[in-house]
Symmetry: C2
Subunit: 341 residues, 2 copies
């Protein structure tokens, strides 16, 4: 008989922890001038990353993040069983062309801004399932590519609403491994796949409102499954609800949770990004630049990273559709290294 | 120690076979008038599937395919640990809105026309890894939505090139289960994730040429890993190379393989679809309508389904980029049912 790793209705526990052995974060100049500027691996002073178009810029950013990821580890692309990646551009253009030059087994995802958590969950599951020892996950977004993809090309000079978030120009990536480090490390220990929740929001500037109900549903179900409350964790992080979505979620929980949102951690108030950061690259870059280093400072700390996605397209918006939200999560734990004699 | 299920450089073997317990296929009128017309579960006489737009039509088709899939099985959405799905529209609009009404743990994929094989591989791996007993995979495409997404809106009356394929208007889906049927069934036994191959093709009408080199790479590597040749299989199926891609692959193999292409099986020559069928829905609908029933007629038969994807977007084409191809595969086996006393 096989071991069932499911607990309750949505939580899946790994039989063995899977270590995060490397992270990378590559961002644009606005992110570099934000709260975590010093902590990113690479800050470009050029939004175009030396390319001619925003889409090519995003691909250049992805490719650089993959390079740094391997440079920071003792692993190579050849060691990698599967690399999961996705972004917000149509047909995941940023990711496909970013990975084109890397000779990697590549599995494309589309989970909108939940992509990073979805990729980490799938990578950890394939490692723990005994298929491979190393897997990768990456997610990216580019402010200018996203604005013209979903809303208005920047050249129109459209005034953004105060509830709107600024899509993070950035790519974050992780390498996961079955081989546990000898030094203190962060491990993926469990995960959950979310169901879509459509609260009827139709305005593509209201991403936080569209995603908060999905975050509430997945996190609530997961905490119930695990028999935990939010304060059992060092921190619960939502991916990119921003100020508005953060507030809505706080109201939905009756002020009952302790949590933070990656979209609130990227920019400073004086950067005038309105409701904070968003995009696939938001939680992906904040993970390597802030969440993981902070966990390493707190031995034994447990964290939930809940990636929040808004499953809209420009076409669905123009056709009057509302915006389904989705939320996938991974649970992480800071563990002491395995000393070999 | 964990069991490593990897063989050679890309093949992953399941420790236990995962059964295909249900399939569904929903197609449009042109597909219904094609070779497999009688074999599809549902043929609409209306390309719009009762909706106002092509994109909404695709979502209606997806939702119907999911419904039929569960109706044909003894399972419910509640039994499902994860449902993988994707399509060709930007931000996978067809899939997202097709799944919105189903209360399912949903994992979005973007593998272009390799999505169906990618989803089956991931679903089988999560079941075999002990996470869940039931997983689903679906993929869809719509001719009219795809033409305006990638090439020309149909209203322009653009003349399609002879090398062009006709995107299949269809959604195909499978339910996979750890519980093995008592009657003869088809099981997933192994899988491989492909690497991107970019042969420098820049014309979005040349999908077959863009994808054939990726099919060649993944299938060749997989056969080497498994110590097999093409004639060891009842049939190797490529996803949607069409007539042109089929011929290119035949040339690449030095006429050395026996194989068939799903894009050659959908339409009849007098339908004037040029180089045959393509799209995520091509291999997904042909699987349920032809491949699986044919396997069940041949006890012990082994089949490779190699999904072939072209990772382009309208933006990448307009920006002069070439088209990276990718190919993921699953191996299937027709097995006798497990009789319980």
């Amino acid at each position: 008989m096989k071991q069932m790793k499911k607990v309750g209705s949505c939580a899946y526990l790994l039989a063995n922890p899977v270590a995060v052995v490397s992270t990378s974060s590559v961002v644009g100049p606005v992110e570099g001038a934000g709260r975590l500027g010093e902590a990113f691996d690479y800050v470009s002073n050029d939004d175009y990353f030396g390319q001619k178009t925003w889409e090519q810029a995003e691909s250049a950013m992805v490719s650089r993040a993959v390079g740094i990821l391997y440079d920071k580890s003792h692993l190579t692309p050849n060691d990698t069983g599967a690399f999961f990646g996705g972004d917000l551009e149509k047909q995941c253009t940023g990711t496909s062309f970013g990975f084109r030059g890397w000779n990697l087994p590549f599995c494309g995802l589309y989970g909108a801004c939940s992509t990073f958590a979805e990729g980490m969950a799938l990578g950890a599951a394939l490692i723990d399932g005994g298929y491979m020892t190393v897997a990768g996950a990456a997610a990216s977004s580019h402010f200018s590519a996203a604005e013209r993809e979903y809303r208005m090309p920047l050249a129109y000079g459209n005034q953004r609403q105060l509830c709107a978030q600024r899509t993070v120009t950035g790519c974050g990536a992780v390498l996961l491994s079955a081989e546990l480090p000898t030094e203190r490390y962060v491990a993926v220990t469990s995960f959950a796949f979310g169901k879509m929740v459509d609260a009827g929001v139709t305005d593509p500037a209201e991403m936080g409102a569209a995603m908060a109900p999905a975050a509430y549903q997945t996190i609530t179900t997961y905490l119930e499954d695990r028999g935990k409350v939010s304060t059992d964790y060092h921190r619960i992080y939502t991916g990119d609800l921003g100020e508005v979505g953060y507030t809505i979620l706080r109201d939905m929980t009756g002020f009952g949770w302790e949590y933070e949102d990656c979209g609130r951690l990227v920019f400073t108030p004086d950067q005038d990004t309105h409701a904070g950061g968003s995009g696939c690259g938001c939680s992906a870059t904040v993970f390597g630049a802030y969440i993981l280093p902070d966990m390493l400072k707190h031995p034994g700390s447990r964290v939930i990273l809940a990636g929040t996605g808004a499953l809209l397209s420009a076409t669905s918006t123009l056709q009057g559709e509302s915006i389904p939200g989705i939320c996938h999560l991974v649970e992480l734990e800071c563990r002491e290294g395995v000393k070999t004699c």
